[in-house]
Symmetry: C2
């Protein structure tokens, strides 16, 4: 089993280190945060300085996992280019375009496939990490035209070893999708919370279920929300424009005809679609990775809402959603 | 104790009938739905045809409670004007402006104060009704300039007997507040659900916590959401315009400077404000209803996020929120 070098030992990086070790991998890490480093050492993990960690990765042909916040990615990639320029490389950052651009700029010779585990919790840092964080979660591994299949398989294998299912898609499609289902919800929750509070004590005293549900994520730490949303500027702008268009259409219909029928029925249908995928059955299929265009086959799995759930030699085992009629 | 005649025996009307009876009141009802009528009779309640129910209310000087959907209110008020024109009258409809307008038009001699218990559940009809539905809930009783104090006290007494706390405010302020904390959440949930579903199966497969929370109320029955939101057209238009302005400002800032700081911090502050009122301590105070302007005193209680929690002769016992520093 390929060894794993994790750069950054916060909630996600720490959980990758734990889960990969639990799967039987040789693992080591490096952390910018002294508290995270101390925590990992106290838990009997090998924690090195960043130069030593990357040199060891080059020596062992390990998979390097970048698990630092987006603003720190460039500096890590400069180190990678210097110390392990041709390493197998992935990341767990929540936006994929800026990371792919940075890899192309700073570490173009790395064998790279981007990653994004769709898991988290409200606490942060090594102290919150857990080997079980990714169990049954979706974990995107980017499958672009230029992605190296061997690099993709290494990143996907790590995700599977961590207990996740692998969703293959392009960098652009990932960023567009998470803008709609992860970043736009934060923006709308912030808008709703501010509109409610602007109603004053009377509105706050009357607020209950629907307001509480709709604003829950507005209690997240602002600096984390900002890093996530602002890092996906292009994707989020498209999603916000879609929301502005739909909200403007609702406003126009209510003002002119008094009806919100189109808005409310579209929303009800959208929620039912979400619940349909959430509760769907799964059908198994196989993809031959030795076939003529395996990356295109993999992208189709993601586009259909499916996951890669294992490998059998050159076959990828796939689970596709089976929706009720 | 004043007897109570409930017109409409669905979830809310049925629960009022049950709760008023449990408080020791003489109660009877009338229902347009045969299923609701059968249910109430089977539970040993007195159910009359609408004419008989209102004639009995006039004979007994009972409090008449209108608990039908907004589109059916006019027809009930015509009956009231015909059969019990000077009755004590309240309602439990979720929007107060259109009901007040209809009372002024059809039953101008009734002694009226509007009501809105902030309680509900996903099931509807008599079968879902419960004497405990209003326990600890906020129950708005409108206190406009022209509201008769005796009528206000009768409606408030019923709310207290049902286990709720009474929030006094004007018709206009009620409709503006619920637009922000009850109707706008439904519109934004619908917009978010549609934006997410437009992202296709990939977006649906990646959607989790923040999307699920933000779209939960979009699973409500569309006809109920539409009746509620469309009935508050004026209030909701103002709230949607506020949301459009805030969302447009977020879009502009993200596009021009790359920052969502103002949006996210305002949302975080708004959510903290909501949680502050939700978790606030309560301080007791008294209002002398025999004083010079008791309705203005009552309105100030609502404006401060407080409730009337009891009566002691001509004193109203008030609980005001005490927020942490």
């Amino acid at each position: 089993m390929r060894s794993v070098c994790v750069v950054g030992l916060g909630l996600i990086g720490g959980s990758v280190l734990r889960a990969a070790a639990a799967a039987g991998r040789t693992v080591w890490g490096t952390a910018g945060s002294a508290a995270d480093a101390r925590g990992a050492i106290a838990a009997d993990f090998s924690v090195l300085d960043v130069d030593s960690a990357l040199r060891k990765a080059a020596d062992d042909d390990a998979l390097v996992v970048i698990a630092v916040p987006l603003p720190a990615v460039d500096a890590v990639l400069r180190k990678v280019a210097d110390l392990a320029p041709r390493c197998l490389l992935t990341d767990v950052v929540s936006v994929k375009g800026p990371v792919a651009d940075a890899v192309a700029k700073y570490a173009p010779n790395a064998r790279f496939a981007g990653g994004h585990p769709m898991a988290g919790k409200s606490e942060s840092g090594w102290a919150a990490s857990s080997a079980a964080l990714f169990t049954e979660a979706a974990w995107v591994v980017t499958a672009d035209e230029e992605t190296d299949l061997a690099a993709w398989r290494e990143a996907a294998r790590l995700a599977l070893d961590c207990g996740a299912g692998v969703v293959p898609t392009t960098t652009l499609e990932h960023d567009a999708a998470v803008a709609r289902i992860s970043h736009l919800p934060h923006v709308l929750a912030a808008v709703l919370a501010a509109c409610g509070a602007d109603g004053g004590p009377l509105a706050m005293a009357l607020a209950a279920g629907s307001f509480s549900d709709g604003t829950r994520v507005a209690s997240s730490r602002p600096e984390l929300v900002l890093a996530m949303c602002e890092g996906n500027r292009a994707g989020l702008l498209d999603a916000v424009d879609d929301a502005l268009g739909k909200l403007g259409a609702a406003r126009g219909a209510l003002a002119s005809t008094g009806s919100l029928g189109a808005t409310v029925h579209a929303g009800h249908h959208g929620r039912a679609t979400f619940e349909g995928y959430r509760d769907a059955g799964r059908a198994r299929a196989m993809i031959d990775l030795a076939g003529p265009d395996p990356m295109e086959e993999l992208r189709l799995v993601g586009a259909r809402g499916g996951r890669v759930v294992g490998f059998d030699g050159d076959l990828a085992v796939v689970a596709l959603p089976v929706l009720p009629d």
